[in-house]
């Protein structure tokens, strides 16, 4: 459905939504997501600090190191892709955009593998507080990454009508890099014994 703003934009109205509003919107969304994870981190801190003696650090799945590298690589790929877009090299932009998307999907598969490894070791969600938080953090992050991959795919296939390509890729990149940074923080947290 076409909103009245889109009609106005189609007629070249400068009173319609400026492109920078989409960047503002994404930054705000990341603020909200960040706050959500901050709340989880404070819950983690409190729970660890309780002197019940039942905090048993779990066996850290080694595949997570590989997954981290893959996710960081996908951020690098996405940054390169945008670089080529700005430089006007269409084919290179598409190529690296695809690489970033595939690496993102690889990261998700890696996370699924990690969960299966834990299940095989009989470490479930409710086994102990450390495992509960492990799953909560990694599943919450993975769900957000799924959303990110969906956005990357949609932008590759057809960009949203009311955003310029410059803006849509900028907004997607912001989200994607944030997911990478978020993962680094979660990863560091999970490494703590």
């Amino acid at each position: 459905m076409r909103t009245n703003l889109e009609t106005m934009a189609a007629h070249g109205s400068s009173a319609a939504v400026p492109q920078r509003a989409y960047v503002t919107g994404m930054v705000l969304a990341l603020g909200g997501i960040g706050m959500f994870f901050t709340a989880l981190v404070s819950a983690w801190i409190v729970r660890r600090g309780l002197s019940n003696g039942d905090w048993q650090p779990i066996e850290f799945p080694r595949i997570l190191w590989l997954n981290t590298a893959i996710l960081l690589a996908s951020s690098v790929a996405l940054a390169r892709s945008r670089h080529w877009l700005i430089a006007g090299r269409e084919a290179d932009y598409r190529h690296w955009w695809g690489v970033a998307t595939i690496l993102g999907a690889l990261f998700l598969s890696g996370q699924i593998l990690a969960w299966r490894q834990l299940r095989a070791a009989r470490i479930f969600l409710a086994a102990n507080p450390a495992s509960s938080f492990f799953y909560v953090f990694t599943v919450a992050h993975a769900l957000h990454v799924v959303g990110g991959i969906a956005a990357l795919v949609v932008i590759a296939l057809r960009r949203p009508r009311h955003l310029s390509r410059q803006t849509s890729t900028q907004v997607a990149a912001l989200y994607w890099h944030f997911m990478g940074a978020l993962w680094l923080m979660i990863f560091a947290l999970l490494l703590v014994k």
Binding site: M1, M8, A15, R20, L28, L40
Partner: protein, 581 residues
């Protein structure tokens, strides 16, 4: 600089596209408004049932399964009344209702930044409401843990009490959906305010209503994200046998619960980290509207505009630092209690500044006591009363006496259930002509005001005394401790006042709905106001300004400017058009 001229979009055809599935911020604002109207009706009926049971415990009551209310039914009413009113009335109308309608217009924009996201926010809010109401109809009924849902009572399931099974789960689900809707809404509000202001509309020329909606949206963004996290953990405790909030060794009803080492206090910290900013989300837009209306009807600028904008920001910021004052006797470290106490009394400072500035706005004015102004002045009175009772509760030593008594009930009802509601009434009467092109009937409005204003004081002032005498809140009746019986006369007085005041709200409903069809047609600017919403038709066209987007040349409250042609100087008129010749 002339106003921009742009092709105007054609109006939608069909009822569905125009009024139901519309991405137009004005339609969405009204959808929120009418949703809240339904919610407040339900919430009020719930509270009247509570009041009836408190004074006539053996009576057969309507809507109550089985006729005579049981304690768990009473507690279910307490829970649902609080949840519905706080979320679907107070967090909806002032911000999502009026904010959606008027923010874009007041800044000279054609719509919100993300209209489709806006639409999604509303439909999610409606879904949340339906999910929540479903709790009444499942086996076990609605939850009994209060709108605060403290675990372990809320975290273990049916074993802790009736309604704690599916009912509580639906409650959490509804709240989680509401969180998402609010988060999406805040993104819209903040982006729109930052990026879509008309030319000349600097931050310091924004109406205080816009400032209020802006700060409130920032609070929403940060607070609801935290509630969402807490809610997810609570759901996991309930369905996945985790133990975030549930300690080991619980024996409920003789059954040993196999949980381990969680902390009930953790829920309280997460909940109140959201919960305190939430009450500022409920009141800040009302403060903005009151400043706006007081200036308009005193024919004077807002006294201390900058201080008012700054005070809104200060209240918003400090609001995140005081959550522990809900937890003085929770088992939290008593030293933290002192810290929270000092921060809490500090919030009284910007609140007091706002009150002084409201008085300063009135002082020296030319006050027209039309209905929006009556409610706005009423707001100030209630905010003073309710705010001052908060000073008692802000000190942990005094709170130890008054915590969880009717004193607290009095305090939060006066600030939220009355002041914020009067803000809504003021805004409704003020903006009705703009939204519907017709005027509400002044006589009926005044009748409504003059019964409601004393009425709500009669309802809530006696609650202070019940609390001082030790009357505990969330008590289904007074058959427990012996000292409670002496408080019944006060309860009776309150119930009678509640019925009279609730009945008077029918006058408002009648006035509102009748005026929709039969009110006097309204002009563009019936209140001789200066801000941009009064510079367009009533109701505004689809793109708000009929293609002629205004530019802004001055601040929002230029009333009675010396040397001007009239006692108001609209924001959008160029200087040559405003001086007397």
């Amino acid at each position: 600089m002339s106003a921009q001229s742009v092709h105007s979009p054609e109006p939608r055809t069909g009822i569905l596209r125009r009024y139901i599935f519309s991405a137009d911020h004005k339609v969405i604002g009204l959808q929120y408004f009418f949703l809240a109207l339904v919610a407040v009706t339900i919430g009020t009926i719930l509270s009247l049932l509570m009041r009836m049971h408190l004074v006539w415990p053996a009576a057969h009551l309507p809507f109550v399964a089985g006729g005579i209310m049981t304690p768990e039914q009473y507690l279910a009413l307490v829970t649902m009344h609080g949840t519905i009113m706080v979320f679907f009335v107070l967090s909806t109308v002032p911000q999502a209702g009026f904010g959606n309608y008027f923010l874009p217009i007041q800044i000279g924009a054609p719509d919100m930044a993300f209209p489709r996201l806006n639409m999604l926010s509303f439909w999610l809010t409606l879904l949340a409401f339906l999910v929540l109401l479903a709790a009444f109809f499942v086996p076990g009924g609605a939850p009994i843990s209060g709108w605060t849902a403290y675990p372990p009572l809320s975290g273990l399931g049916e074993v802790t009490g009736p309604g704690e099974g599916t009912g509580q789960l639906l409650w959490v689900a509804g709240v989680l959906i509401f969180c998402i809707a609010s988060l999406l809404g805040s993104i819209n509000f903040i982006s729109t305010t930052i990026d879509m202001r008309a030319s000349g509309m600097t931050l310091m020329r924004m109406p205080l209503t816009v400032w209020a909606w802006f700060v409130t949206a920032i609070l929403s963004l940060l607070a609801f994200a935290v509630l969402f996290a807490g809610g997810i953990l609570l759901v996991l405790d309930r369905v996945a046998e985790t133990s975030f909030f549930l300690p080991a060794g619980l024996v409920v009803n003789g059954e040993l619960q196999m949980r381990g080492g969680g902390s009930p206090l953790l829920w309280q910290h997460l909940f109140w980290f959201f919960g305190h900013p939430e009450v500022y989300i409920a009141i800040l837009p009302g403060m903005g509207a009151v400043s706006h209306i007081l200036a308009n009807f005193s024919r004077k600028p807002v006294f201390g505009y900058r201080a008012m904008a700054f005070a809104l920001c200060a209240i918003g910021f400090l609001g995140f630092l005081v959550w522990g004052h809900h937890m003085f006797v929770s088992g939290m470290n008593p030293y933290s209690g002192l810290t929270f106490s000092l921060l809490t009394v500090s919030i009284g400072v910007p609140s007091a500044v706002k009150t002084f500035n409201w008085l300063g706005t009135l002082w020296g004015g030319r006050i027209r006591l039309q209905s929006p102004m009556l409610f706005a002045i009423g707001f100030v009175s209630f905010f003073v009363t309710g705010g001052l009772s908060g000073i008692f509760l802000a000190q942990p030593a005094v709170d130890t006496e008054l915590h969880a008594t009717y004193y607290v009930v009095a305090h939060f009802h006066i600030v939220m259930g009355v002041a914020a509601i009067f803000g809504i009434f003021a805004a409704t009467h003020y903006w009705f002509p703009k939204m519907f092109g017709r005027r509400m009937n002044e006589t009926l409005a005044k009748l409504h005001f003059w019964i409601t204003f004393p009425g709500v004081y009669c309802i809530f002032m006696p609650m202070h005394f019940i609390g001082i005498e030790g009357g505990v809140r969330r008590y289904a009746d007074s058959t427990g401790a012996n000292f409670l019986a002496a408080l019944q006369p006060l309860h009776l007085f309150i119930t009678i006042a509640a019925f009279i005041t609730a009945t008077a709200q029918l006058v408002f409903f009648y006035n509102f709905f009748r005026s929709l069809r039969k009110g006097e047609p309204a002009t563009e600017n019936p209140w001789d106001a200066t801000t941009l919403e009064w510079a367009t038709a009533s109701p505004p066209p689809l793109d708000n300004f009929g293609g002629h987007f205004p530019s802004v040349y001055r601040g929002p409250y230029e009333y009675s400017v010396p040397g001007a042609a009239q006692d108001f100087t609209p924001q959008h008129l160029e200087s040559e058009q405003t001086h007397a010749d």
